[in-house]
Point group: C2
Chain length 260, copies 2
């Protein structure tokens, strides 16, 4: 049994999906970890980088948050009594829509050392696939990342106002409720004809991209699979409509995209 | 001389600074590159991952953009006639404030294959250092990334309106003009007392963080060094004021920060 007071919990960004889009620091930590707590959606190839570690799935997808989160917090605190190198893997970057603060607070209150290893968020990997920059000179100088996910019973459209005010927007955890998202955006003044690129399973072999508009995104999202998706909105994507129309395109042809 | 038609130009995110915050894919590409075009600010330890490659500094900092950019574009196109594996390294992620689109367009027009490797943007590494999540449940559901840098002679405050509409904001290339930034934000309705964290030399040993407010950021920025800095604004940083007051804190003590 190791010294509990030398334990460190590493909150580590697992990146967008592809195993080689982990950071070098994350890969090295996984090779040393004694236990790895991971979300349900993490690529098994990433977990294979820690064959020596005990694996604990702390799966949660939509819904049932607070109970699950409190239980995860407790598991992390308990692990620090037993192990020295504890890795908590989170998809993308831990500090963007990863509920990291709840785990940081619980660990800090328990006096446990924390280190955070940043990761590549899905928006950046999706931009790389599309070969379309989030910011562009004279066209996009502000980029907002938002999530429409709401606490139960609340109706708070500040996220939609933030999207309306920025030049480019990336929505996380939005594709599953595309009809409400579309309506909220149009209500806040986002033009219905603005181009939307929905990219599913970013950076993985099975990635797919659908090009549509703010007004048509609910229809487009019906053809999505069950993988996580980012919804990207902005004038910077307008040229993709001519190239792709509304067809699905496979990553194997680099999404079939040339330049504008 | 290699086959020009098999050349690929890789636009690669160099990450926030620390060499082990490169992605695994980026590190492997550097080890295979025949030539590396890099910005002036890239960490020499990152360049050392490509000892076999010819190094071409395409340094540019503020000002004199379009001429320099056209020359970089030409250098990349020319390199594809001579080499097969060409790496264009860009700080952070290439698709956020990296002027990637101008290089993508030039290369695409010349019929040259491009691949883009995403990277960790400075905002994420700064959040990891501060142990403060960009998004937080019930407090911050939208995060905007913006730059106040303007084309010469233009006065365009849409970036400031986007900041005012989002819960958390990260400004790139802003610390050097903190007085105008402060004035523009207050003009667009951002509360002067909102907390600002300015993080310089993110992820490097010499990193420093200054906590101030939107109203006081011009004063705070005077004590910055010459390294690149991100300016982070939002209620999520409010607790840092009690912890740090307005003192510089070294990364060696993890910025001296506990939880809220």
């Amino acid at each position: 049994m190791s010294q509990p007071d030398s334990a460190t919990v590493y909150l580590v960004g697992a990146g967008p999906g592809a195993v080689d889009l982990l950071t070098v620091r994350a890969a090295r930590l996984l090779a040393r970890a004694q236990v790895v707590f991971h979300d349900a959606l993490v690529n098994p190839e990433i977990l294979a980088l820690a064959p020596q570690a005990q694996m604990v799935a702390v799966g949660k997808r939509s819904g049932r948050h607070s109970t699950a989160q409190r239980f995860i917090n407790k598991q992390l605190v308990d692990a620090a009594q037993k192990y020295q190198i504890i890795v908590r893997l989170k998809g993308g970057d831990p500090m963007l829509f990863g509920r990291a603060q709840e785990e940081i607070s619980a660990l800090t209150q328990a006096g446990i050392t924390i280190e955070i290893v940043p990761g590549v968020s899905a928006a950046f990997a999706a931009s790389a696939q599309l070969q379309c920059s989030l910011s562009q000179r004279a066209l996009a100088r502000s980029v907002v990342f938002a999530t429409p996910r709401q606490a139960k019973g609340s109706v708070d459209n500040t996220w939609a106002r933030a999207v309306a005010a920025a030049d480019t927007a990336v929505l996380y955890m939005a594709a599953g409720q595309a009809d409400q998202v579309s309506a909220a955006l149009i209500h806040e003044g986002v033009p219905g004809e603005r181009t939307v690129a929905i990219v599913e399973n970013v950076s993985l072999a099975e990635t797919r991209c659908r090009i549509c508009t703010v007004a048509s995104m609910a229809h487009a999202a019906k053809n999505l699979g069950s993988g996580p998706a980012v919804v990207m909105i902005g004038q910077v994507y307008a040229h993709l409509r001519q190239v792709m129309e509304s067809e699905w395109t496979e990553q194997s042809t680099r999404l079939g995209l040339g330049s504008a």
